[in-house]
């Protein structure tokens, strides 16, 4: 059976094949993810967003090492101490130090006024010994990326200022990233499961089930979310511990976010069901699960990833808002929203504007995630023509 047809020999085939040869050897054998990556790389803002997001998540994982202090470390003597400048050159030579603080108390308002005391140099070093912690929950160490040379006994360093009770804001922002960024991920994961399940059911079965689920989605989308979130969050029993509260808040947030994902999944599912290649798989005799998982799912995985990425910022913003209003996470848990609670009092903000810095962290994270998600969405379908 090695017989070949004449059509396979004639010049018509040979040229037709060589003409596609030119300059696309690598492209020709590139699978989907590679094409998506090539498309994504062209998107400069999205690349920048991705780098920032990776950095933030790495920072959250290694928070104890990166932060000079633990999130509980405080010194009430330094309430509202302003940010210090980190000096790199010490009299012409390399050397890290900060100047110490001088304070005066206003006799009437009892508020402290801070000035820099240039006579006191507090030496700072890389990989300094400080409080002990367990890196990744495993390795016990006391090395911090940056710290005062005197260890725990030296005067404290406040590179981004201190809050009402003398917590180091820099350390707290780094530690807060852990909760704020993870609540986005966990929340989206829960929403994803719900959305994929309900969206998939809706798209696959159609008919009354579809109509029913669509009405529920529309219902959730048309009512104002924050009052509902607030009401649900208020109903979380006050006796719950930080971890339970964390999960309760996550679940409450994802209860709203799944609707959007369900819509995305459903509409992609419906449009894919009509694609000829899915019909072709059916004609090939592929089983229902094989059609879904081998033929359909890879086609919208990139869309899903883009949609998921674009859902995370909403989660982060919602957590921040809830915690800011005092109905989300509660101190001593540290998240960016909890930190911003300190800024609720406008008088405090006017004396210590650096209390708004956790907000800057939120903005950077949300912006980067948006850029990343936009880039992914644009690159998601490398095959459209």
């Amino acid at each position: 059976m090695t017989q070949t047809l004449p059509v396979g020999e004639g010049p018509e085939v040979q040229t037709s094949v060589t003409s596609t040869d030119a300059g696309q050897g690598a492209v020709a054998v590139a699978p989907q993810w590679k094409l998506v990556w090539w498309g994504f790389k062209r998107h400069r803002l999205a690349m920048a967003g991705m780098i920032v997001i990776v950095a933030i998540y790495l920072g959250a994982i290694f928070a104890e090492f990166l932060a000079p202090y633990s999130s509980e470390h405080y010194n009430p003597d330094y309430a509202y101490a302003p940010p210090q400048r980190l000096h790199v050159l010490d009299e012409g030579e390399w050397g890290l130090y900060v100047y110490g603080y001088k304070s005066e108390q206003n006799p009437e308002t009892l508020a402290l006024t801070w000035t820099t005391d240039e006579s006191k140099k507090v030496p700072v070093q890389l990989f300094a010994h400080g409080e002990e912690y367990k890196l990744l929950g495993l390795i016990t160490t006391d090395i911090h990326l940056l710290g005062t040379s005197g260890g725990t006994k030296a005067p404290p360093m406040y590179l981004l200022g201190a809050d009402r009770t003398g917590h180091d804001l820099l350390s707290r922002i780094i530690h807060g990233a852990r909760i704020s960024m993870s609540i986005g991920l966990v929340g989206v994961a829960v929403a994803f499961v719900l959305g994929l399940l309900l969206g998939g059911i809706s798209g696959f079965f159609g008919g009354i089930v579809d109509t029913g689920i669509q009405r529920v989605v529309e219902f959730f989308m048309s009512i104002p979310t924050l009052p509902l979130w607030l009401a649900l969050a208020a109903a979380v029993p006050p006796g719950w511990g930080p971890l339970q509260r964390y999960f309760a808040v996550t679940v409450i947030l994802s209860m709203i976010a799944w609707t959007h994902l369900a819509r995305v999944v459903r509409s992609r599912f419906l449009s894919l069901r009509e694609e000829d290649f899915v019909t072709a798989a059916q004609v090939d005799g592929a089983s229902q699960p094989r059609i879904i998982f081998r033929h359909m799912l890879p086609s919208f995985s990139s869309y899903l990833i883009a949609s998921l990425t674009l859902s995370i910022p909403g989660m982060i913003l919602a957590e921040t808002s809830l915690s800011f209003l005092g109905l989300g996470l509660q101190p001593p848990v540290v998240s960016w929203g909890v930190l911003l609670q300190e800024a609720q009092n406008i008088r405090a903000v006017s004396t210590a504007p650096w209390l708004l810095l956790p907000g800057v962290a939120v903005v950077i994270a949300v912006l980067s995630l948006n850029f990343l998600g936009d880039g992914l969405r644009d690159a998601a379908d490398p095959y459209k023509h």
């Binding site: 924050l226 509902l228 800011f324």
Partner: protein, 330 residues
């Protein structure tokens, strides 16, 4: 058109019903019921509550009835008598409390919506028609920032800036001297003088979102065959843009009311809290913190129903604007 409106209103009924159920659930969520609160109040005043009295109270409030009957009693009182129950922290009927606050909230939200439109429209159109121009990049950047910055942060920064650099507080809706006076021209002007801050803050996120949607939609439309066909019959470019693609791109202006409005209502709660405005938002927050559930549930109910009505109005406007919607559901 009338048939469309009629069907749309019919569709609203199950929606409002679902909202009322959710609100009722919110009221029932915290442990204990209204009676527990009353008993606690009475005992705090030193009164001893005996079982007979308790049973009488239970019967009076219908708390011995099954849940469904309780719901029915609650909702029929609202629909028939406008009786939303009693707020125990204020010791006043909820309806009385809300009468003063909800209109203010609604006004704030609607003004913010209008501002959103007025600002987003020209920027979005400019951004699409002059794609890749400097103005487009500026608008896109503002759009991104507006989406990324939470409203309360904008409010805080605005307050901080005006306090630090202009030495005045922008919080509240009325200056102290007007706070308790009767309505007159001066009070109205004072109100307007304060109102722009929350409106600006509230509108920011919606404006940013709408600019993006409008730009993307208009960019899509600008290259549709019917635009080229209209150009080929000699239409002036400006008139062509305004008459053809812009009208299609206007659709999101009305259809996005559906998602901007809930967002604005949500934003109002938190912005009002930060700017200490005397609206329904802080009332809800305090009610929730104090577990004053009749008040909280009622606010959720009213605010949600108002949002749904707003969405309905936007749908009707949409049908008026778009013959495809109007004629499909004849």
């Amino acid at each position: 058109m009338l048939g469309y409106i009629g069907r749309r209103i019919l569709l609203m009924i199950p929606m409002i019903f679902a909202i009322s159920i959710v609100s009722f659930v919110i009221i029932q969520l915290p442990p204990g019921d209204y009676l527990t609160t009353v008993v606690a109040q009475l005992s705090a005043q030193g009164d001893v509550v005996d079982q007979a009295q308790l049973a009488a109270l239970k019967a009076q409030y219908g708390l011995d009835q099954p849940m469904i009957v309780q719901y029915w009693t609650w909702i029929s009182r609202i629909v028939m008598d406008g009786d939303f129950g009693q707020s125990f922290i204020w010791n006043k009927p909820v309806s009385e409390l809300l009468a003063g606050k909800v209109p203010l909230s609604a006004m704030l939200t609607i003004s913010a919506l209008l501002v959103t439109w007025v600002v987003a429209f020209p920027i979005g159109v400019y951004s699409a028609v002059r794609q890749y121009s400097v103005g487009d990049y500026v608008a896109t950047t503002i759009g991104f920032l507006g989406i990324a910055i939470p409203e309360f942060l904008i409010a805080l920064i605005l307050m901080w800036v005006s306090l630090t650099y202009f030495g005045q507080s922008v919080g509240g809706l009325l200056s102290p001297e007007y706070r308790d006076s009767n309505w007159n021209l001066g009070k109205l002007l004072d109100l307007l003088g304060h109102l722009w801050v929350p409106i600006l803050v509230l509108g920011a996120a919606g404006t940013a979102g709408l600019i993006r949607v409008l730009r993307a939609n208009l960019l899509d439309e600008l290259h549709k065959p019917y635009v080229i066909a209209a150009r080929a019959r000699g239409m002036r470019e400006r008139r062509l843009t305004v008459k053809y693609p812009l009208r299609v791109a206007l659709i999101p202006f009305f259809s996005t009311v559906g998602w901007i409005l809930p967002g604005l209502v949500s934003g109002e709660v938190i912005v009002a809290q930060v700017l200490s405005l005397d609206t329904a938002g802080p009332l809800l927050l305090n009610a929730l913190k104090a577990q004053d559930m009749y008040l909280a549930g009622s606010i959720v109910l009213i605010v949600s129903v108002l949002t749904v009505i707003g969405t309905l109005i936007s749908d009707i406007l949409l049908a008026w604007l778009d013959p495809r919607v109007r004629l499909r559901y004849r």
